[in-house]
């Protein structure tokens, strides 16, 4: 089983460095890449990821997304876009078709059901064939919302373990994972937010998760262009998965 969903903010720290990192992805452990679309107000991201948006925004163009999507397709890795709803709305309905056409598999919209609750179900319905809406839930998502959104979609589910990325709020991993796995039986669930070590990845995988999203812990590697550390991290995960199975 491939456990990793890796998060990168588009163009961080630069097109060149990010492209080099993508070229070194280990396809035996990485199943998806979640690409963050730079925005001026990444409200629900933690401080580390927030910092990357500022850096990337200056020279970001929508067409950059195609560069990464093409690179990832060469590795046979699906690309999902993490995009705040105000960025999506700004670009109009045609943007969803554009994203699908450049090879984006689906969208994660973290603020949709928090700040635009009344528009949520309409947005899901507006998705064109071939572009998936990825339900994004966390411990603060009420049961009724999880049920409604799960019924309207059939893709994998992103479950944030924390209220925002990179914040270490204590929680009982077993209870948290049990809740969501029971509420969406049979669905692929990938956990994210606040996962900082390979040991945590193992622990989550052992509890029945289908995958683990990693973002904040990659940022220092990207920032320092420490590609060897990135390769070593993936190797560690590969070794760990041999034990977990």
């Amino acid at each position: 089983m491939k456990p990793l969903v890796l998060y990168f903010t588009a163009n961080y720290p630069s097109r060149e460095i990010l492209s080099e990192f993508i070229a070194r992805l280990d396809t035996s452990v990485v199943k998806y890449v979640e690409l963050g679309m730079p925005t001026d107000n990444p409200l629900y991201d933690g401080p580390t990821i927030k910092g990357t948006h500022g850096t990337s925004l200056a020279d970001f163009r929508d067409s950059d997304l195609k560069i990464y999507s093409d690179l990832l397709r060469e590795h046979d890795i699906r690309t999902y876009l993490l995009v705040y709803y105000h960025e999506l709305r700004k670009r109009g309905p045609g943007f969803l078709h554009y994203l699908r056409d450049i090879g984006i598999s689906g969208l994660i919209i973290p603020d949709l059901f928090i700040d635009y609750f009344d528009s949520g179900t309409e947005v899901i319905k507006s998705f064109p064939e071939g572009l998936e809406f990825i339900p994004f839930f966390n411990p603060a998502t009420p049961d009724s919302v999880i049920r409604t959104v799960a019924e309207m979609t059939s893709s994998w589910v992103y479950y944030g373990l924390q209220p925002s990325t990179g914040i270490n709020v204590p929680f009982d991993l077993r209870e948290v994972s049990k809740r969501i796995l029971e509420m969406v039986p049979g669905r692929e669930v990938n956990f994210g937010f606040g996962i900082r070590t390979v040991d945590q990845v193992r622990e989550i995988m052992e509890l029945g998760s289908n995958g683990v999203a990693i973002g904040t812990m990659l940022i220092p590697m990207l920032k320092g262009n420490r590609i060897d550390d990135f390769v070593e991290f993936q190797e560690k995960v590969r070794e760990m998965m041999k034990v977990v199975g």
Binding site: I114, A140, S144, V145, P163, N168, V169, P170, F171
Partner: protein, 419 residues
């Protein structure tokens, strides 16, 4: 069970679990956010709150076990508090329905605040810290903190808004009697306090300044900070009010049609109404606020700072702005600019109906309540009573069961009747 009975002092009425409304809200609760990209005030919470509190703050669990020690202390402080039928008030209003009062003034500190101070102090003590720090305005929260710390065997340091410190010597004496150390804020004990005094040596202080001082002091001295209201974990602890009411109504064979409480930060209101909203989703729910602080009717539903010094994170709530300077109104507990995110969301979605009440109406309601029921209610609770009276007057022919939470007594606030 006789329905006029003043109190149902049965240990079994104290619940085994607190209730958290978050998984039952109609929409996801927006998480707290940081003020900017450089400073993480959420990360700050990691360093100043007991981990158990932080866990409860963000949990999706509906029910959290109340530790045995907390349950015992709840019994010691007078829980379950009485639920009684306000027959005198009914007669006075010539009402054909029934009015029930849940009376939090019967706790040893005279208000609901002790319900959350006890678990917070115990969780802090369990982490091995030497003490807790908090701020207080009028002194209710400080008093609850002082008692809870004394029970837990740890120190309490309380930054009290300087103007209250000077004007309410009785409150200060009570807190000291319980063993707490009281410091007028702004003080010279923190960097922030010193910076305020430097700009204005006779600064009267604000709750926001006191919060900043308390947080800074907790960080510098490895102590834990106590949350008085607004935060989800506090509302969870206060659910003991509503859960007891639910059992007491069941014993009386009654169901509520209307629930009424007052809103400062929202903790007595949320604690009282949330368990009952879950059990009786059809009940009307009225939130009473001061006309001088009309957060629900004139505020915006937006991200705003919990405290005016912007030390703690922003939360999404109805707010008049964290820089809102309220008049020095008669009900200090209702001066707060915002309201708990869960309460705010239920106002936004229409489940809770807000009601602003004028000072004059509140003082009338307090007089009526004192003369018909013999209880001097707190000015804050007077809002709930005023809203209840208004409701009865406009629904005189309905035979409804109205349940009102009276969050505290007003024996230390008698000066409002001099006006």
């Amino acid at each position: 069970m006789h329905e006029y009975m003043l109190s149902l002092q049965e240990r079994e009425i104290i619940p085994d679990n607190w209730y958290n409304i978050v998984p039952d809200l109609p929409q996801p609760l927006p998480p707290p956010v940081d003020k900017d990209n450089e400073h993480s005030s959420i990360e700050l919470l990691n360093r100043i709150l007991p981990r158990e509190i932080l866990k409860q703050e963000f949990t999706f669990q509906r029910y959290t076990k109340i530790p045995e020690e907390v349950q015992e202390l709840y019994a010691q402080i007078g829980r379950p508090t009485p639920l009684f039928r306000a027959s005198g008030l009914e007669r006075f209003l010539d009402y054909r329905g029934k009015i029930f009062i849940k009376y939090e003034g019967a706790t040893i500190t005279g208000s609901h605040k002790i319900n959350t101070a006890i678990p917070q102090a115990i969780y802090a003590r369990n982490e091995g810290v030497k003490g807790v720090v908090t701020e207080t305005g009028a002194g209710q929260w400080g008093t609850a903190t002082a008692v809870a710390s004394s029970f837990s065997g740890i120190k309490a340091k309380i930054f009290m808004v300087k103007v209250s410190f000077q004007q309410k010597p009785l409150r200060k004496q009570i807190m000291e009697l319980y063993g707490a150390e009281i410091v007028p804020s702004p003080s010279t004990e923190t960097k922030f306090g010193r910076s305020v005094i430097e700009k204005r040596h006779d600064h009267p202080g604000t709750l926001g300044i006191a919060i900043s001082e308390a947080v800074e002091y907790a960080l510098e001295h490895d102590m834990r900070y106590m949350l008085g209201s607004v935060f989800n974990s506090v509302l969870t602890h206060q659910s003991v009010i509503g859960l007891e009411t639910e059992k007491q109504l069941e014993i009386l064979g009654e169901e509520p049609d209307v629930l009424i409480g007052c809103v400062g930060g929202g903790s007595n209101f949320g604690g009282f109404t949330f368990p009952l909203i879950k059990k009786f989703p059809e009940a009307e729910v009225l939130a009473s606020t001061a006309e001088e602080v009309p957060k629900f009717t004139h505020g915006d539903y937006k991200y705003d700072f919990v405290d005016s010094a912007q030390t703690l994170p922003s939360v999404k709530m109805y707010s008049l702005g964290s820089d809102f300077v309220p008049e020095k109104i008669y009900a200090g507990g209702l001066r707060y600019h915002g309201a708990a995110p869960s309460v705010s969301m239920l106002v936004k979605t229409g489940k809770i109906t807000p009601s602003d009440v004028s000072e004059e109406t509140v003082i009338d309601a307090l007089r009526i309540f004192a003369r018909t029921q013999g209880i001097v209610a707190a000015p804050e609770s007077g809002h709930a009573l005023a809203t209840a009276i208004e409701y009865v007057v406009s629904h005189r022919n309905d035979r409804k069961n109205i349940v009102v939470n009276v969050s505290g007594h007003g024996l230390l606030d008698m000066s409002i009747f001099d006006r």
